[in-house]
Symmetry: none
Subunit: 305 residues, 2 copies
DNA sequence: AACACGGTTGAAAATATCTTTCAAATGTGA
DNA sequence: TCACATTTGAAAGATATTTTCAACCGTGTT
């Protein structure tokens, strides 16, 4: 416990890391020759020096450990250890300063690391856009309808079908009766069965996919509450929709199909819808979720050693 | 010999400061209780921990020096000293970028607008974590294998099956022979047909889903190049994987199942894989993509007036 | 030129910190 | 319950840091 006093000292008085180079210049005149060599090395390559031990830095500068420690002291740190920590911080800091221009399109010859960065950035952007553009009133209405629905039918084809399946899976997990339809004919056949109190959800990025519009129209005519999740709030599908949830569209490039970002956007909307429903049906949702985890437990292999 | 590449993951991961919190979550399940306590402390207060010595951190977490060192090792650092340096860097990093206030868990009584904001933020976080934690060497190897594969089989069940389908759909669109298998029996039956030059991809968040491991094992034994996309880089599935792509794990709450963020993470990985393959097969991929757009055009209704 | 003297320096000892070892404690499955 | 494997921390061992101290250097004086 006694050493803790030292800790508290280092906590309140270390110099601001950013000003290190300046401090070196300021204090240089009052330094001895060997100390200046050390200070120079430190100011010149903080990141590199952070990787060195006292001995390493002493050798690098052609001085001794003692001199390195003296320099650290002069710069305002309790010892070399703390200077080194500050150096690490400084390195990380200036690392982040160099913001990579990931805003560009993905090119054919981009290195794989750039692809990862750009893709992640794009999808993050898509999420932000979607969240910003989502009408919470419409979403609230959709949630209310879905939470009390007798049954929920979901239509989606192509890439959107996966989103539909995802939603259906999750709703089913919390005990709701939800089905995703991919086959347009079967979807229409099923839609005919719907009536007031049921919910139909169409997912289409273009807002004009016939195979998805048709079953929604039937459901609409039958009196079911209809929801459209689309990137085109003015598209044809919305004329059969009681509630419209808008997804965002990101620029697409040759290598990055629009389906990619629309899927991200659709999934966020669908997740919001799901969480909303789960909130409203919490009493039954929570145990249902727990039960489904339980049921799956035996499908996993034991931990290896 | 090829399988030894797996080793490189845990061994080479150098100071990746930004991804520390993510790494803690990813590796937490494979940690012992006391190690988790240490990891928690580190992830919770990087700045504070950076000021502590091994002994200090051991006392703080009620464990021993040995455990602290073990934890540092598991997180990918040579020892505590290096973890501490990374921590200092991280502290400086987050000092500059002030975190937003939507970090709280989603509660049962959150208004719908908050749900949207929190969910979007969480998914963005997941994307960032995934991108930071993705081993580009492994990814590059996976891309190379997939781009030249005679055929690609993809295994995934539950939520992961949708990710598998998404990947298969996209690869098929650029002219590759790719199939997603959901039925474990059929998957194994198909896996038997694989041989050297084919690629098998298993997608499982837990890393221990038997239904997915089994076909991958068969493919592995048959000499196919095997890829595992999993949130548990130390899970059983990796023993049959030539290349391991790690997805990140976000904290989950009662209302937000882990499946949600793992899906986001998996999709990003899969997208990166796809783009990588598309780059490598650009000559054939570009016209194939264009053709598939063309073919779908007539499935859309004309814009209404 | 020789000397004395204050400041500078690094080798080596002393200390602090980190790492490894190993046996006890704890948990786990038969 | 026992046998076995895993987890854990105390203490020994290895490194890194700090301190000590005598040698060294440069300068100014006699």
């Amino acid at each position: 416990m006694t050493h803790d006093l030292k800790e508290s000292f280092s906590a309140d008085s270390p110099p601001a890391p950013a000003a290190l180079a300046a401090k070196v210049r300021t204090l240089a005149p009052s330094m001895t020759r060997s100390m200046q060599r050390v200070a120079e090395a430190v100011a010149g390559d903080p990141a590199g020096c952070a990787a060195l031990t006292v001995t390493g830095l002493a050798e690098l500068t052609g001085t001794s450990e003692a001199t390195v420690v003296r320099t650290a002291r002069l710069l305002g740190y309790p010892g070399y250890r703390d200077l080194r920590l500050a150096l690490a911080g400084l390195a990380a800091h200036q690392q982040s300063g160099r913001a990579p221009s990931v805003t560009a399109d993905i090119a054919v010859d981009d290195p794989i690391a750039d692809v990862v960065a750009k893709l992640a950035y794009d999808e993050q952007q898509t999420l932000a856009d979607t969240a910003a553009g989502l009408d919470t009133v419409q979403l609230g209405a959709a949630v209310a309808a879905a939470a009390t629905a007798r049954r929920i039918d979901i239509y989606g084809v192509g890439a959107s079908s996966l989103v539909g399946q995802d939603l259906a899976q999750k709703l089913a997990r919390i005990g709701l009766i939800a089905h995703s339809h991919t086959d347009p004919h079967l979807a229409v056949t099923n839609a005919v069965q719907l009536r007031s109190g049921d919910v139909a959800i169409a997912i289409t990025h273009s807002g004009s996919t016939v195979d998805v519009m048709e079953p929604l129209r039937v459901a609409f005519d039958r009196g079911a509450t209809t929801i459209a999740i689309t990137g085109r709030p003015d598209g044809p599908v919305t004329q059969y929709a009681d509630h419209v949830l808008t997804t965002s569209t990101a620029r697409e490039s040759e290598l990055r199909p629009a389906a990619m970002s629309s899927r991200t956007s659709q999934l966020l909307v669908v997740d919001c819808l799901f969480i909303g429903v789960a909130q409203r049906t919490y009493e039954t949702a929570a145990p249902a979720l727990a039960a489904s985890y339980e049921a799956l437990a035996h499908r996993h292999a034991p931990r290896p050693r």
